[in-house]
């Protein structure tokens, strides 16, 4: 049997990270195939409960990617995201979820190469994460 795909839900903001993922595509940058992107207007729209729902439904990993500080299309959405998601990250162990399965990062619209690196690195980390650690 072939190795199972590591399935990661990626919540990407429309203005920076989603465009960055498009940019990686336009530059034909090969990436692991396990990431399933869900487009949101802003990382500030990502409810921590949506992240937990993804884990509940069987996601191996969840990745939220927004704009760099100061670059948010809406001014402050990425700061809200950071506060909410940092808190979530600290709560994950109490829920029995290895925090290594959850990542929050920033990729700008022009950082296609960075997006490809993020996908590879995080796929690797999620693959190696074990909830019993």
């Amino acid at each position: 049997m072939t190795e199972p795909t590591t399935r990661i839900i990626g919540f990407l903001c429309n203005w920076c990270s989603y465009a960055g993922a498009d940019m990686a595509g336009m530059s034909r940058m090969r990436q692991p195939a396990g990431v399933r992107i869900i487009r949101v207007p802003c990382s500030g729209r990502v409810d921590p409960l949506l992240v937990l729902r993804a884990f509940q439904e069987g996601a191996d990993g969840v990745l939220v990617s927004g704009c760099h500080p100061g670059d948010c299309h809406y001014g402050s959405g990425n700061y809200f995201a950071r506060r909410r998601l940092e808190l979530l990250k600290r709560m994950l162990p109490a829920l029995g979820i290895n925090p290594e399965r959850f990542h929050y990062t920033r990729v700008s619209a022009t950082e296609g190469a960075r997006w490809a690196e993020v996908v590879s690195a995080i796929t690797e980390r999620v693959k190696n994460a074990n909830d019993n650690d």
Binding site: R30, I38, V40, P41, C42, R53, A54, D131
Partner: protein, 662 residues
Amino acid sequence: MIGFFICQCGTNISATVDTGKVAAAAAAMRGVAVAESIQYTCSDPGQATIAEAIRGKRLDRVVIAACSPRMHEATFRRALERAGLNPFMLEMVNIREQCSWIHSDASEATRKATDLARKAVARVRHHTPLLARKTAAVRRALVIGGGIAGIQAALDIAAAGIPVTMVERSPSIGGNMARLDKTFPTLDCSSCILAPLMVEVKQHENIELLVNSEVDDVHGYAGNFEVDIRRKSTCVDEEKCTGCMICQDKCPARAPDDFNAGLGSSKAISIAFPQAVPLIASLRKEHCRRFNGNKCRLCQKLCPAGAIDYGQEEAVLRRSFGAIVAATGYDHYDWKASYPTYGMGMYPDVVTSLQYERLLSASGPTGGRIRRPSDGAEPRQVVFVSCVGSRDESVGRPQCCSVGCMYTAKQAVLTREHIPDSQAYVFYMDMRAGGKDYEEFARRAQTRYGTLFIRGRVGKIFPRRGKLVVMGTDTLAGDQVEIEADLVVLATGLDASAGAGELARKLNIACDRNGFMTEEHPKLRPVEAASAGVFLAGACQGPKDIPATVAHAGAAAAKVIGMLARGELEASPMVAAVTESRCAGCFKCRGVCPFGAVEKARLPDGRPVARVIGSVCRGCGICNVACPPGAISLNGFTDKELIAEIVEVLKPDVGYRTLDFG
């Protein structure tokens, strides 16, 4: 009834994703009435197929698996609308940029595309018709920057009858083009073609010109921007100053000459250059004696118009605009720190191409006679070095400046025209002469003007017996070359102008890795920035020569005119909405909203509830997350829609084995 259409995009998608297989899988999904694979969905026949299916199969929702929604979502929404559907009953699946182009394993890519299709079909079931709102747009445009790009854009917009405010941070408009002597490939005089346009800006009834001014802050959104413009204190009353230059002649304090790129010197109070528009003096406090502990007030005493006001204060004007054009241009790269082997600026006779323009120019510090800065002698041997800070990985600058080859050829030609017995040498990497008549011009520089082109980089420049020795390689001859030069001219690369990044931040638009502002799409939307209502003109978007800049600025103006001509804009209906029966009146949403789009309202029974001001809401959805009872919800990105995506995309499929985490 859902229609599912998957695009082959020629072979862009179908080479990696088995579109037939995905369509077959989609046909079996709940609610899907038709599933088809189309060669080019965005083409006329492709859109016709969709329209036919909508009418024939009575579809009420459509899923299109194709390129990125950032590319064609608007196209397909219009297609739905033409076929009689609400445009927001569409969901797109990105299987090109985010699937076929990044994977090579066909079965894995097909599986991913199927997953994504399933999530889109599930999501579109929850879509509700949304109606675009119309909002009034302010019929006035802001042009930031007064170089040739800003001038062209402002004149074009004003010609359409739309008022323009032009903001320029320096004391005169004209920008870099005003400093150039002649222009390639026609060798017509830069000032002669630019100066009449500068005057037209000043005199145009539809243009308000604000020099010595900068954009302080930008609020609002397309159609309704509120912009704070800071007018710097120059100690000169613009209304009174007549441009007589008596103050400049008599001022005892010397100051650097910015217009002449640091060659020669100016005064603390001065007019930027003789053709300046507006022709008014401005005082630079950092160089003025009066502002540095001295009692001098000579200019005030001598000014016949009484225009000098030492107590003049900064002012901030607030203006409303419907659209904004950024035309901030470029700066030449500061080469000194990166090229220690070229002397780091220690040798006065190593000048930049911009300084050389000033030496060539009749309005320059030498009156148009080429003179070495060190001793004022006329040079015989002039060496030009191309690509200083361009196409040079060793200093971290791989980009091409796109104008260096041509302006260097032009300067070599002008050298021979100024000094007939001179010899010009050009060290070049490749001659890039892609424009109309450019190749012929570059060829003429060699044949008629005897310029010697040497293909290779210069390794070192050092002084010897009053001359500068230029050591380089001739990669065509495979040889080392050493030339004794009287003057060396560095063709420095181009950067986005200082402060462009800061402005981009205020305008909420992105910059690329070289600092230039990013357009929405490199081919199809070359003048639109990522923020609606913000447009780019000229070299702020990337290095350009004058013809390309003028064309780009004209295009930006056309977009502004198109946007403001109707007086109202269609605003996205993807904004937040409150279910009042659920709202507890806690106003957490109001606290987190970055735009002040939530107001307090009262129901007839007196209960306080939140209400969204649709025209102010920008649709970020931060409030949706903050609301404890889940009463406020973002249209188009509701919890239901997002949860449907999560649940469906993770549905265990054949071939999956969920990782066992213990």
